[in-house]
């Protein structure tokens, strides 16, 4: 059967199980769009190509499958760069398909020509230019394999317009993916394995550091067994949230820059850290020189290049988190860590008293209240997609995720503007789930154009803007480290409720705590998208905080008195 390259692409995507493609058309990809029109693919028209990549990313994070984004050449492709880097840093399986000028024009600075494979080389797991129709099918199949194997990541396939237009025989069986013959590395090192077992069975103050690798490996069940058997408390990275129930007593919570004091102190006092599917990011370790100096370290990690990168470890097991934990499990003896647990309980000390949730309603609206109420009302069952900044940290602290893939957030790259488009992807991936966007007034303004996409696709997504009139996290740093010189952080925003109305969806402003729960309930009961503009305390800060470069236990603790400033009316 003779098909055009564009038809072959659509046929291949369909056969790979793709149902949704997030994209934006343009000259160099028009043949593909014509073919999409005759295919079963559901194309979601975005308002900016960055949104398309975040949607594909959100789709991938919500399911574990590959998300697909599409754009034309030149500016279409360069607009994808931020989204691709976001997916790369958080190991998200995304395939980006870009149109390219015809192969005979390559290198001639043709209209809308840009070397997108050159540009994205350091931020993709792999990328490739396809300039022959015969190469379309197997290259796309290879892209899907690369994107979602080992440590996942984004792959970009740049297809020239002539390859889209030319015709070739299409035979699925004949287009088998042919990846380069890589050497099989025997990563099993018995000495390291035995050492890990010995360390596990002799530790007195162990802590497990759980990362996104557990979720990517689908290893939640075996991980829970490992935790129960070894009787070792769990601290999570931001992206590890959901790998183990937050409400489980064995779960200490999130570690790192905005981790609770007892979590970070426990890590600093531990005699053994078992890192699973995490990479000792600087936001997790604080100063490396002073990081967990009393602890031996075991590192279980699928990516060999992460071993000893930031933190030198005593035993490294390279491999899939689930497989490795399953191998370790029979060798782990249950140990009584009663003294250690008692000590951690002691570390919690007055933290509960300092917790903002314990304070009486002072008439002020705090972001932490909004997020904690959202958790209570949704019974922890929603998929929450956050942006980047203070609200993101409050979400991690006050929305307790018991299920994997229910917190979708940009961790490694910290991409503002991620939330709204990523939520669109998550909603398409899991249409029956309740999806909430938690976003700051700064990040929302970066990609709020995607409200139109939500309306056009008739998506039921709830949006909670944590509006404090500042670029809050930067303002917090200015407060702590720059003598409150708030340069370029006060932020004018439109009336978000009115803006929502202009897009054709309901918008409400919330200014007092007593309105929070009824408004959340009202938004949930609507079958259309709703935007809630929470006017929260303007100069509230995220506590605790480990200043950049400080030791992990040198935290700025939560103050004993609540803030006195009132949320100002515009």
């Amino acid at each position: 059967m003779k098909l055009t390259g564009a038809q072959i692409l659509c046929e291949t995507l369909e056969r790979l199980g793709v149902r949704h493609v997030f994209g934006y058309p343009g000259g160099a990809i028009l043949p593909v769009y014509d073919a999409i029109g005759k295919s079963k693919l559901h194309h979601i028209l975005v308002r900016h190509e960055q949104g398309a990549t975040h949607m594909a990313d959100g789709y991938a994070r919500a399911t574990g499958g590959v998300g697909v984004a599409m754009a034309t050449s030149g500016p279409g492709a360069t607009n994808m760069v931020t989204g691709i880097a976001t997916a790369m840093l958080d190991s998200s399986p995304v395939v980006c398909i870009t149109g390219q000028v015809s192969s005979k024009l390559l290198g001639s600075d043709a209209f809308q020509e840009v070397d997108i494979t050159g540009i994205t080389m350091p931020i993709t797991k792999h990328n490739v230019v396809v300039s022959k129709v015969e190469d379309v099918a197997h290259t796309v199949r290879e892209a899907f394999i690369i994107a979602n194997s080992g440590r996942p990541g984004p792959v970009l396939v740049d297809i020239t317009k002539d390859a889209q237009q030319a015709t070739a025989d299409f035979d699925w069986e004949a287009t088998v993916p042919k990846l380069p013959p890589k050497r099989i590395r025997n990563n099993h090192d018995q000495k390291e394995f035995d050492r890990a077992v010995e360390l596990l069975n002799s530790a007195k103050r162990p802590v497990i550091l759980a990362g996104r690798g557990i979720i990517l490996s689908g290893a939640m069940r075996i991980f829970e067994q490992f935790v129960r058997t070894s009787n070792i408390p769990v601290a999570m990275t931001l992206l590890g949230i959901g790998c183990f129930p937050a409400t489980d007593p064995m779960n200490l919570g999130m570690m790192g820059m905005h981790g609770e004091a007892w979590v970070n102190t426990a890590i600093q006092e531990a005699d053994l850290l078992i890192a699973v599917g995490m990479r000792f990011d600087d936001r997790v370790t604080g100063s490396l020189r002073t990081y967990a100096r009393n602890a031996r370290k075991i590192h279980i990690e699928v990516d060999r290049a992460e071993i000893n990168k930031n933190v030198k470890v005593d035993a490294a097991i390279v491999g899939d988190a689930g497989e490795t934990l399953a191998n370790l499990l029979p060798h782990v003896h249950e140990r009584d860590h009663a003294a250690w647990f008692a000590h951690i309980k002691e570390l919690k000390g007055d933290s509960a008293v300092r917790d903002i949730q314990s304070l009486p309603d002072s008439g002020h609206l705090f972001a932490a209240h909004v997020i904690n109420d959202l958790w209570k009302v949704t019974k922890g069952g929603a998929i929450v997609v956050t942006d980047v900044g203070q609200h993101q940290m409050w979400e991690a602290q006050y929305y307790h995720h018991d299920q994997p893939r229910t917190l979708i957030t940009s961790g490694g790259l910290g991409t503002m503007g991620f939330a709204l488009p990523a939520a669109v992807g998550a909603k398409f991936a899991r249409p029956d789930s309740e999806v909430w966007v938690v976003v700051g007034d700064g990040g929302f303004q970066m990609t709020m154009c995607e409200l139109a996409t939500i309306v056009q696709e008739k998506l039921k997504i709830n949006i909670a803007i944590i509006n404090n009139g500042y670029l809050g996290m930067v303002r917090q740093w200015q407060e702590f480290f720059y003598d409150k010189r708030y340069i370029a952080t006060p932020l004018v925003a439109p009336d978000f409720a009115a803006l929502a109305n202009a897009f054709g969806i309901r918008g409400e402003r919330v200014t007092t705590r007593k309105e929070v729960v009824p408004m959340i309930e009202s938004a949930r009961s609507s079958d259309q998208a709703v935007l809630l503009d929470f006017r929260v305390e303007q100069e509230d800060s995220v506590y605790p905080m480990v200043p950049a470069g400080a030791a992990l236990h040198e935290m700025i603790r939560r103050p004993n008195n609540p803030l006195v400033e009132t949320a100002s009316e515009p």
Binding site: V66, G67, I145, K178, K182, A305, A429
Partner: protein, 180 residues
């Protein structure tokens, strides 16, 4: 100095990927040589980098993450041969030419071109040996020099060969579709 040998796919852009990676890791390359192997689809690289053992380990592991890199191996600590080839154009006139030729012979260099006021020496060997010859030629006036950079090979039965065919590890099957 660390020496890494890599087998890579012999196709456009692979050198760029390798170079881009070392730049990203902030590792300075002292020399990088690429040449064909007996299999025309595979090329062999020798990368000499200014970094410590840990840097080399990271570079090796990161190189192997590139889809087009089939094998990367740090051979710095293994028993191996290293060779560099140089062409050196030295100022030489009738008076000092015989003396120059004597020196070149000591270093097992070959004179491959003679002109009235210069000659070209071809010399291969370890970096130290070539540096040694350069040292003694410098007083005569080194006019021009071209060096290939090092190639390296482990000795004896310590074989470093590219994988021949697709291995089961490359998991050449389509992934399961997104479950939604």
């Amino acid at each position: 100095m660390q020496t890494i040998v890599a087998y890579v796919e012999n196709k456009p852009g692979v050198l760029n990927r390798v170079a881009s990676l070392t730049r990203r890791l902030a590792i300075n390359i002292d020399s990088l040589t690429v040449g064909p192997t007996e299999n025309e689809e595979i090329a062999r690289m020798t990368i000499c980098a200014h970094t410590d053992e840990n840097g080399a380990r990271r570079l090796e592991a990161s190189l192997e993450k590139l889809v087009d890199v089939l094998v990367a191996e740090n051979i710095s600590d293994r028993s191996m041969l290293e060779r560099d080839l140089a062409l050196i154009k030295v100022a030489a006139d009738q008076q000092n030419r015989p003396h120059l030729m004597e020196l070149i012979k000591v270093f097992r260099g070959r004179v491959v071109d003679v002109a009235p006021e210069s000659l070209i020496v071809e010399v291969s060997g370890t970096v130290d040996k070539i540096d040694g010859l350069l040292e003694v030629l410098r007083p005569f006036g080194v006019l021009e020099m071209a060096r290939t950079g090092r190639i390296a090979m482990t000795r004896g039965s310590d074989l470093l060969r590219p994988p021949t065919a697709a291995t089961p590890d490359s998991k050449d099957k389509d992934p399961a579709p997104a479950s939604s």
